[in-house]
Amino acid sequence: MKKKWLGLMVTVGLAGILSACSGSETDTGTSAAEAAGQQTETASSRGVEGEEVTLSFYYWDALFKEQIEQLIADFEAQEENAHITIEPTQLPWAEYWTKLETTLATGDDAPDIFWVNLAHLIEYLPAGYMLPLNEDVMELDKYSQTATDLLKGDDGSYYGVPFLLDPNVLIYNKAMFDEAGLEYPSEDWTWDDFRTAAAALTKDDGSQYGYCFRLDTGQGSMHEWLFSAGNDEFDYVNSVPLFAEDSAVDGWSFVYDMMYTDGSTPTGAQMTEIQGETYFQSGQAAMVFGAPPKIVTFAEALGAENIGVSTIPKGARKACSFSVCSMAGYAGTDHEAEVQSFLKYAASKEGMTTLSAAGLTAHLECFDTYEAGLGIDVTAIQTTLENYTLVPILYSAEYNTEFQDQFNSCIGEVYLTTGLDRAGIQEIVQRYADQCTALTQ
């Protein structure tokens, strides 16, 4: 009797392995995109009107929690949506993509609606994960075209609702300008105006810098200098590095000179120890570049009355980086109709106004709501949206993270090496550009 039992247990165990292997292999064997495609075909037939439907919704930003819940409540309160329940899950930012991609691997367990940023959009769109939106979901003329263009697929459909649009701006500490007797940065500042002011705001004893550069690849770091130098960094469609071109070297060396000639920004070595921005937040630097969400954070650290906002100084052109976050539907959802109607509600002026309380939306009529919520004069953001060339931070459609790694290392090497001249800088960036090119061959 006991022997049989033992045998049974072993069998069950082995069966477990077999089922595990076969189950998983099937999942790899079928392309996720294919699976998604198949499901889309049946989706409309499955979404029967009137049936109780629960949609899952992944997003990452805790700052938006209240607004997302509000948006969902408003949507569910509408009579025609009485049968829909939306379950939002706020996930940790650092693990968001791991979690999302893991569920995308199964297909069935993936969220019906999810947030996606630019860097992942260019991966997910060709992979077929995202649901093409019905034409009536988004009123295109009400949206920033810079944002919507990025969401347009090859078939002409749009694949997401851009709810968040973050162009980069210059954020400054008013008290320091007052103390130095300087005028606040104006919207037609050039690079040289910026450099002069930064030098004037720098104190010799090291207690105050005019500017704090950032040694990372986020918004507000090297990108702003390269973009306004007239360089696009990468031709991301064809995966070609451009950041070693002559125009780019202007940007690289301009910052280098501020760092090592003027001393108006902390050195690379200093910034490996303390993140550039911290100098600004602790009241030891007068100017920093950052995306709009930073304004709120900086105001909390320094007091809203001390924070001023202007545009990125003009180099060869008026340009800055920007990012877009979108709400997308999952192509393999079982409830396509419901997903479309939720996205339509979210994309409406009413929906976007709700979200505007937490951040700047790409809906052009919501700017006032956003500004009113901030309590800081941010007309510079509007100027940027109207007059600036907005360049997305995109490295490559195919070698996205690989190129980003190279670019990241390049920033590090340039600004951690002392005693470089223009030719020296040129040599370093060219080396990294060559490595990018080598990756594609």
């Binding site: 006991k2 022997k3 033992l6 045998g7 247990m9 072993v10 069950v12 165990g13 082995l14 477990g16 392995i17 089922s19 595990a20 292997c21 998983s24 292999e25 790899t28 064997g29 079928t30 392309s31 996720a32 995109a33 294919e34 993509w97 791991t98 991609e101 995308l104 691997a105 991966e123 997910y124 992979a127 994960y129 040694l215 990372d216 690379g268 070595a269 910034m271 490996t272 120890e273 303390i274 993140q275 993270t401 690989e402 990241n408 290392s409 390049c410 920033i411 590090g412 090497e413 600004y415 951690l416």
Partner: protein, 306 residues
């Protein structure tokens, strides 16, 4: 396994009392759960290493191509080298310190409970807090590390900006953080050392150091063996601390501290190349297996049970 079953059934009469019956009965809960939840996924990972599976596409069988690519990539060798350097420093230093601390924490001294808790704290402090505070302690201008060096007249480096020192700093923090866990296992192991052994040794005039070396160490070799095996494995698989430190740093510094699991993580979850990542995991597996087998082979030479 199958042969085992047949063999058992031939000796039907004595079955209830055989060691085989009881042995397999006792390990069966573990074995069954293990087979279901771990072994299957591991075979799956091994299989993946032979495919070009990316999360967003079909995985095709490509034979050993992943391995060829890995061996040709200089980054793999950097990661392997770093993992080995990390292990070579972390294991002996960490285990020695833990052993001495466990011995100290087993003495009858005032505030012993408090000391034990404090020395365990690093293992339960949030890794984020550890990364942040230690980065600050290594700060060239404000940090305590360079202040101490300055006291001895040594000009401290920019720990976070120089690749060499950056990695050294991580290893130091790793040793600091790992002490707690090793210490507990050794402390628990010390409970099996009868106090009378020390009494006898003292009668013969042995010093504390002699007692430690001649009595304590030999008698806790089973725990020590465990700690060393696990330390080797975990060091070769180190990830968390590396991730925290690298995430907050830039440029060439990153390469200086990339270990194998960091590379695996990046390939799998950042570059979405599951197949390629699995291949590196297989290489790491083979290395750990070799190291562990050597240790088990050496077990009887220095580990005393009973």
């Amino acid at each position: 396994m199958k042969g085992e079953m047949e063999m058992v059934s031939k000796r039907k009469k004595a079955f209830y009392n055989t060691d085989n019956f009881w042995g397999y009965l006792f390990i069966s809960p573990l074995l069954i759960l293990m087979l279901i939840f771990s072994v299957g996924p591991i075979f799956f990972a091994f299989y993946m290493s032979l495919t070009d599976w990316k999360l967003s596409g079909a995985g095709e069988f490509i034979g050993l191509a992943n391995f060829k690519e890995l061996f040709a990539d200089p980054a793999t060798w950097t990661e392997l080298k770093n993992s080995l350097i990390y292990t070579v420093f972390k294991v002996p230093v960490g285990v020695s310190i833990s052993l001495v601390l466990a011995y100290f924490l087993n003495q009858r001294i005032p505030f012993r409970g408090m000391f034990r808790v404090v020395y365990f704290l690093p293992s339960i402090t949030m890794t984020v807090a550890i990364g942040l505070v230690w980065r600050y302690l290594f700060n060239s201008q404000y940090g305590i590390v360079n202040a101490i060096l300055a006291f001895f007249g040594i000009q401290g480096p920019y720990w976070m900006a120089d690749p060499k020192y950056f990695f050294a700093a991580i290893i130091l923090v790793a040793i600091w953080q790992g002490i707690g866990y090793d210490m507990i296992i050794l402390l628990a192991g010390l409970q099996n050392v009868p106090g009378m052994y020390y009494e006898a040794a003292r009668m013969e005039g042995a010093t504390s150091f002699q007692c430690f070396r001649k009595i304590t160490v030999p008698l806790i070799t089973p725990s020590l063996f465990f700690v060393i095996i696990m330390e080797f494995m975990n060091s070769l698989k180190v990830f968390d601390l590396i991730y925290i430190f690298i995430n907050a740093s830039y440029g060439p510094i990153e390469d200086a501290a990339r270990t194998m699991v960091y590379g695996i993580y990046q390939k799998a979850f950042v570059h979405s190349r599951m197949g390629y990542a699995s291949a590196e995991a297989v290489i790491l597996f083979v290395i750990i297996l070799a190291v562990t087998l050597v240790q088990f082979w050496g077990e009887r030479k220095w580990v005393h049970y009973d």
